[in-house]
């Protein structure tokens, strides 16, 4: 390297270091004034962005209210006033505030450049391992002084920043090292004769072995990517990830069925009233073939003594838009496979057989929660399968519910009722079918037919619509929509159920008391917050399973 180039590098290093340190000497206000124009431009650019459309599959039922994420809940519960609100830049899994993004990017760039200049100077005549200690010292010394200056000038000084600066510096050094290595290699190639490395000779055995390794690597990739890419599910049924975290054999009562189950029965209330542990393992518009598979799978980790099945699903059509969501979250096994093959078709089936097909395009909307839950898995369900609904639809009378007329499907569903009965009998579980109380209900004849068909098969059955007045529902406040109860109605219905269950079943005593205490207090908190807030009325009324 010529002397002239070395001088230029020395000047660049000095200027770069001075630039970094001088910036740190500036008071926070002055520094803000410099970066604010860029930040506000970035903010403006981002704020023009529209909210992305939520994927239809994540909305299992038309009746679902807009979901609130944990972070949003925290924000509404603990509103923190910030001096200046900035937009966030979404970088894959991370959301970073623009002011932080701009400042950090500038800082990182400064240190990368410094690393480049230093490495170019010190590695000018090739890679010399001894010189790296000088580089390391420079990379540590400059940020250390930088943070010290910031500390003295009354700005926030963080140890983490020193590491980040060192890392950025190392990137610069790495780039020069890699460049130097490659250039040396190239020069060697030109000057020296290649050492006699034998070219690969085609061998079918090696190809097959490599092919197997390739397949294994791809399976591993999909296996690692899928839990991250699949949308996370906490409520509105199909909460398999959380169900599987339930302490083994700790559930006394298992509730299955459609949204009528996960909206109307509150396990926390049931526990509070009876000490019985329960879990609602339902799914939106769940059809009976799926319910049977759910039961089979659920019994692999729990041994409930009582299984309650919401029976409106007997009248559901063969396929509906929620079959996919009900099966997506089921663990992989033969039951899931058989349900996939019999209950779905076309792209739904392809997506269930190879979920990358359905969810690979979520990569650009992943959040930190996707990554965390995808890698670490779900935690226990704070609501034990129940979905808290606080919106209100004022009910002004009962109406017939529009359900498909599919006699063959009904007969097929009955065959699955028998399978459920046999499975429960085999496991020594008491089985109980019921129809939830609703204002938009199947025709009397249909309900009577269900009652007859179920009781004819030797299964206990109760149509709670027959004792609608016993629950003390207030039609002005207790319904989420004509088919579903909100939390007010659900508490009343669950308390009614609790009284009946208490007479028939005693708690097994296998409950994780701390977990259930947390559940009870979580539900009480939500309930108290909703009671204290002005009533929220639902805009549209529709009924669904």
């Amino acid at each position: 390297m010529s002397r002239k180039k070395q001088t230029i590098l020395y000047v660049l290093i000095v200027l770069n270091v001075l630039f970094i340190w001088c910036n740190s000497m500036l008071p926070a206000e002055t520094s803000n004034a410099i970066s604010d124009p860029i930040i506000s431009r970035l903010d403006r650019a981002i704020s023009e962005k529209e909210e992305p459309v939520v994927e239809a599959q994540t909305k299992p039922s038309e009746t679902e209210p807009p979901k609130t994420t944990e972070s949003e809940k925290q924000e509404t519960e603990n509103p923190v006033q910030k001096e200046k609100k900035h937009e966030t830049v979404s970088l894959f899994f991370f959301k970073i505030r623009t002011h932080r993004f701009v400042r950090k990017s500038a800082h990182i760039l400064e240190y990368i450049l410094l690393g480049l200049w230093c490495a170019l100077l010190l590695l000018r005549d090739g890679i010399r391992p001894a010189r790296y200690k000088f580089l390391a010292l420079t990379g540590l010394f400059v940020p250390l002084i930088d943070e010290t200056i910031q500390f003295w000038s009354g700005r926030t000084s963080l140890v983490g920043d020193i590491w980040l600066d060192l890392l950025s510096f190392s990137v610069g050094v790495f780039v020069v090292t890699a460049g130097s290595y490659l250039s040396n290699r190239k020069n060697r190639k030109h000057t020296e004769k290649k050492p006699g490395r034998r070219p690969y000779e085609f061998s079918l055995k090696k190809e097959l072995a490599a092919g197997v390794c390739l397949l294994a690597a791809l399976v591993l990739l999909c296996g690692a990517a899928l839990p991250v890419l699949t949308p996370k599910r906490h409520d509105y049924g199909s909460v398999w990830g959380m169900y599987e975290k339930e302490p083994k054999n700790s559930v006394d009562v298992l509730v299955l069925g459609s949204s009528l189950a996960y909206c109307d029965i509150v396990p926390a209330v049931l526990y509070e009233k009876t000490g019985l542990t329960s879990f609602v393992m339902a799914g939106p518009e769940q059809t009976f073939p799926v319910t049977y598979r759910y039961l089979k799978q659920a019994l692999k980790t729990q041994s409930p003594r009582f299984v309650m099945v919401e029976a409106t699903g007997l009248l559901f059509g063969k396929t509906n838009r929620s079959v996919k969501v009900n099966l997506t979250y089921m663990p992989y096994n033969l039951d899931r496979l058989s349900a996939t093959m019999t209950e779905t078709a076309g792209s739904e089936r392809a997506g269930l057989l190879f979920p990358m097909y359905a969810y690979h395009d979520r990569w650009d909307e992943l959040t930190a929660e996707d990554l965390r839950k995808g890698v670490l898995g779900y935690d226990t369900d704070p609501m034990a399968g129940y979905t808290f609904l606080d919106e209100i639809t004022v009910i002004d009378g009962f109406s017939p519910r529009d359900l498909p007329d599919e006699p063959d499907t009904y007969l097929e569903n009955l065959s699955f009722v028998e399978k459920i009965r046999d499975l429960c009998a085999e496991k020594g579980i008491r089985l109980y079918f019921f129809l939830s109380p609703y204002a938009s209900r199947p025709e009397d004849g249909d309900r009577a037919k269900i009652m007859k068909d179920v009781t004819d098969r030797g299964i206990m059955f109760k149509d709670f619509n027959g004792s609608f007045d016993s629950f003390g529902f207030d039609l002005k406040t207790d319904f989420y929509d004509p088919a579903h109860l909100n939390y007010r109605g659900a508490v009343k219905f669950t308390e009614y159920l609790a009284d009946r269950l208490k007479a028939n079943i005693t708690p097994s005593g296998k409950a994780d008391a701390a977990l259930w205490k947390k559940r009870v207090s979580r539900f009480s908190e939500l309930r108290a917050a909703a009671d204290a807030a002005p009533p929220r009325y639902k805009q549209t009324t529709d009924n669904n399973g």
Binding site: K49, S90, Y200, L214, A217, L218, S347, Y357, E365
Partner: protein
């Protein structure tokens, strides 16, 4: 059956496996059946059209070669007339009718016919054969071999437009099973699938959004979409070629190269030597040179260029935008020809070397801009849209970019930019450093590349729920 569909992968696997399981004599027959099946997956009826064109050119080739009735030219003209009539009827009738409508009291007669997929490709391939025979090449005497030459499925619907000399020789040759052929063909197929599914189809989202409603976008967005289209069409078309060449290689055939880093061209003329080489060379050999080529006066040469490029534009599509696009490319070259002495003087005056790195970089950039300018006409739905886009670009109507309005997310945009940059270097390594051959002679690096490409397709490719596999852009031609 698109190349980027599961059905094609199944078809290719079955096609290759059965081909090598059959006795050698039966392989061409199998490939012919497979090729017609492949074509009939779009529209079975149109296979008859291809058969007709094949029969006509085959017979005319024989008659030309044997000088039946002592007239070579007659059979050439018959073949040209019949084939071009088919092309005109299916592709240009409505366009011509629309153009001529003002002469007939504004009433345009239109035909309600679907454009047969790949018609321009196979007809040009067949015509190339007829002209070769007219020029003295030996006519093919085996109809089935000739039919396979016209319909060979890897290159049937979007080229490369092969020459009879290259293909018929390979069809006749003994092609034993060689595992190396499978290996050598697999990499281009994967590479092509990655370019199509990860880059082209994702960039298409931006391009379609912006060009679908150009009046709702700023100049910066239009410029971005235009550059995006340059990337899209290159990735799309070169991907098709890669898959075609890879598929053919698996069957023991070597198809001609169709792209050589076109955006690294230092002039528009250079671009056309690197872009869609099979078509450019077809026009050069069968139209430009017969018109006199470069061995004529400067003005005649310019006229030749304009004729060739206008016809090339028309070949691409029956619309004014394509014609003007072709003409514009001709004009670029004509202007380049005219200012060439001036440019040389300028370089001499400034003591600049035309081959210097900086000078080449500037030329590449200018060429890229000129080509992009022309792509506006190629992509715009109407001349009105194209005019509006040009106006917006020249008057700088809005310089802000609203990412949400581009139809993709910011991470996708970043990914696409990274992919485009990576593609530039990868192409350089493939074309200039013969990377594919070198990789194919390794084991671990090759499988690592397979893994990388499949992983990219799995994670970022356009497929899945609600995704309709995008046709390759050149299918429409």
């Amino acid at each position: 059956m698109n190349f980027n569909s599961l059905s094609y992968l199944v078809f290719l696997t079955v096609g290759v496996t059965v081909c090598y399981l059959l006795p050698r004599r039966a392989r061409n027959g199998w490939l012919l059946v497979a090729s017609y099946f492949f074509y009939m997956c779009w529209n079975p009826k149109y296979a008859l059209l291809m058969l007709f064109s094949t029969a006509v050119t085959f017979c005319c080739g024989l008659l030309t070669g044997r000088r039946v009735w002592g007239k070579k030219k007659l059979w050439l003209v018959v073949s040209l007339l019949l084939n071009l009539s088919i092309l005109f009827f299916f592709k240009y009738f409505n366009f011509a009718s629309g153009l001529l409508a003002p002469l007939f009291a504004g009433k345009a007669v239109t035909l309600n016919v679907l454009l047969p997929v790949g018609i321009s490709f196979y007809i040009f391939q067949a015509l190339g054969y007829t002209i070769d025979v007219y020029r003295g090449a030996a006519p093919e005497t085996n109809f089935f071999d000739y039919a396979l030459f016209v319909s060979f499925f890897p290159q049937l619907v979007a080229g490369p437009i092969e020459r009879s000399g290259n293909m018929l020789k390979q069809i006749k040759a003994d092609r034993p099973f060689r595992a190396e052929n499978l290996r050598d063909g697999f990499l281009p197929v994967l590479w092509g699938l990655m370019k199509k599914m990860v880059i082209a189809d994702n960039v298409a989202l931006i391009v379609n959004t912006v060009y679908g409603a150009p009046r709702e976008h700023t100049a910066a967005e239009l410029a971005l979409a235009t550059v995006g289209f340059a990337v899209q069409i290159y990735c799309d078309f070169s991907a098709y070629t890669d898959i075609a060449r890879g598929s053919a290689k698996m069957l023991g055939f070597s198809l001609m190269e169709n792209f050589r880093r076109p955006y690294a061209a230092v002039s528009v003329r250079d671009f056309w030597r690197r872009w869609h080489i099979s078509l450019s060379s077809w026009f050069r050999d069968y139209l430009y040179i017969p018109l006199g080529g470069s061995h004529v006066s400067k003005w005649r040469r310019i006229l030749n260029l304009l004729i060739v490029f206008t016809i090339s534009g028309l070949w691409h599509g029956a619309a004014l935008t394509f014609v003007v696009w072709g003409l514009l490319n001709g004009v670029y070259q004509a202007v380049s020809l005219l200012v060439d002495p001036l440019r040389k003087k300028w370089y001499a005056l400034l003591r600049l070397k035309e081959t210097a790195r900086l000078s080449r970089a500037c030329k590449t950039l200018v060429t890229f801009l000129l080509i992009n300018f022309a792509w506006v006409l190629f992509r715009a739905d109407t001349m009105g849209d194209a005019a509006f886009i040009f106006r917006s670009l020249f008057t700088l109507r809005g310089l802000s970019v609203n990412i949400a309005g581009l139809g993709v997310s910011l991470p996708t945009l970043i990914l696409l930019m990274l992919c485009a940059a990576a593609l530039w270097f990868a192409d350089r390594a493939i074309i200039d450093k013969d990377l594919a051959r070198r990789v194919n002679h390794t084991l671990v690096p090759r499988y690592a590349i397979y893994f990388l490409l499949i992983a990219l397709i799995l994670l970022f490719g356009s497929y899945g729920d609600g995704f309709d596999p995008q046709d390759f852009v050149y299918f429409q031609f």
